[in-house]
Symmetry: C2
Subunit: 77 residues, 2 copies
């Protein structure tokens, strides 16, 4: 648990859960979001599996494709 009483969640995990939730809400497949963001589908898949140490520029592209602020995309669900 962190100091706010939440179970610890890594930044990778938080981003992965948020990406899946925001895609689901918009009815977007991984491939569709990847196309919108200009990244490869397999790359997005690896980010959603928390395998990749994604860079700030790519997080920004994903946020823009979802029409979200980058800070929103990194908030806990």
């Amino acid at each position: 648990m962190d100091r706010r009483g939440h179970p610890h969640q890594s930044a990778r995990e938080r981003l992965a859960l948020r990406l899946r939730a925001e895609r689901a809400q918009r009815g977007l497949s991984q491939e569709e979001l990847a196309d919108l963001a200009g990244v490869h589908r397999t790359y997005l898949g690896s980010v959603e599996r928390q395998e990749r140490n994604i860079s700030i520029d790519n997080i920004e592209q994903l946020a823009a494709a979802l029409d979200l602020d980058i800070a929103e995309l990194l908030k806990p669900l």
Copy 2:
């Protein structure tokens, strides 16, 4: 201007401004924050000059060293 009426600010710029402001508020030098976060001082310098495409793991380490949530560190000032 973005759709919220703010001048556009890149994610790199936002992070850089926020890092400088949070360091200043705590009276921390680049070297001191770098030590706390376990990154090299010259690396932190390049992030604050927006030269580096920093990864999510390193953003997380900097946020933890500042006792901030990663989403806080990426909010506009």
